[in-house]
């Protein structure tokens, strides 16, 4: 058991990270506006989004609803998307009226080049489903 855990940890730390897609996708589902009008408190975007250079460094926002919406930093029409690539590791602040704080942070981290960085990245990816769901609304 201990050997198995050690093996998995070694794999997570040593095997280079590859990603089939570099897109981190968030969508406003159809019917969101109607649900909001009905009183649902729907959060689509977390106040902080983490991206990783070379792995997942393109933020993709899509408005699938039937009305224009402020989504992330900008106004988006029904059916419209915004594909926003990042090339520099930094913390980006966007004014975002969708959040109570009025601000959204996109934290772009460097490519996980060291074993420790790879391990940390993989653990965080593993734990991500426990946080805000991607690609849809959560209440």
């Amino acid at each position: 058991m201990a050997g198995c855990a050690l093996g998995v940890t070694a794999w997570a730390a040593l095997i280079p990270i590859r990603s089939a897609s570099r897109d981190e996708i968030f969508e406003i589902p159809k019917g969101t506006w109607a649900r909001r009008m009905a009183g649902d408190r729907i959060e689509i975007l977390p106040a902080e989004i983490r991206l990783t250079l070379g792995v997942r460094d393109v933020l993709v926002l899509r408005n699938r609803d039937e009305v224009p919406q402020i989504f992330g930093p900008t106004l988006m029409m029904p059916g419209q998307g915004l594909r926003l690539p990042f090339t520099v590791a930094s913390s980006y602040q966007f004014a975002c009226t969708a959040h109570a704080s009025g601000q959204m942070t996109i934290l772009v981290e460097p490519f996980p080049a060291t074993p420790w960085a790879r391990l940390r990245w993989r653990v965080r990816e593993l734990l991500k489903p426990l946080g805000l769901r991607r690609g849809g609304a959560s209440t």
């Binding site: 009305v67 224009p68 930093p73 106004l75 029904p78 690539p85």
Partner: protein, 186 residues
């Protein structure tokens, strides 16, 4: 009501912009027109620049960091573009009509590039333009004065008046040059 109509009218004009450094809208939509007072003391309408590539920025002349940094990058980019720079128009719309009249905008922008044009108007007019473009601007008190927290990105609007891309704050002049050249060729 008008915005969705403009959008659907424009939906067929999208092209592959994956190589842009800026964030790309897909499909692009028609950039909302506006009518403001220009820093050249004439009516400033976006449609005046149809045929040119427009970079649209929102800010205020007392801005301590974001605005001067972006305007300096744009001025440098325009220099780097050489003759192609004549096909680029930077439009800077104030979020602070109380202080930014046409004269103040003119002298402020001339320090970066005399071809840059500013736009001002009533608080209601400017709020309408910000709403059309999804721009946030919040006034904050600073001692006896005030400042604004505002959207820091710029919009890239093509020759046909289509809102094509959004460049986040902090990009280098080279990135603007790269994207302007691509959009001018289309």
């Amino acid at each position: 009501m008008l915005l969705p109509l403009l959008f659907f009218a424009a939906a067929g004009s999208g092209a592959d912009d994956a190589s842009l450094e800026a964030g790309v809208f897909s499909p692009p939509r028609a950039a909302p027109d506006f009518s403001l007072r220009g820093s050249d003391d004439t009516e400033l309408k976006l449609s005046r620049y149809r045929g040119k590539l427009v970079i649209l920025e929102f800010g205020f002349t007392a801005c301590p960091d974001v605005c001067p940094t972006t305007l300096a990058a744009l001025a440098q980019a325009r220099k780097q573009l050489g003759a192609e720079g004549d096909e680029l128009q930077v439009v800077y719309i104030t979020v602070d009509p109380e202080r930014d009249d046409a004269e103040r905008l003119r002298s402020y922008l001339a320090a970066f590039d005399p071809t840059f044009i500013g736009g001002t108007g009533t608080a209601e007019q400017l709020a309408g333009v910000r709403r059309d473009y999804g721009i946030a601007a919040t006034r904050t008190t600073l001692g006896t004065s005030y400042a604004f927290s505002h959207s820091s990105y710029t919009y890239l609007i093509d020759r046909e008046g289509m809102l094509r891309a959004l460049m986040p704050y902090g990009h280098a002049p080279d990135d603007y040059v790269h994207d302007v050249r691509i959009l001018l060729k289309q």
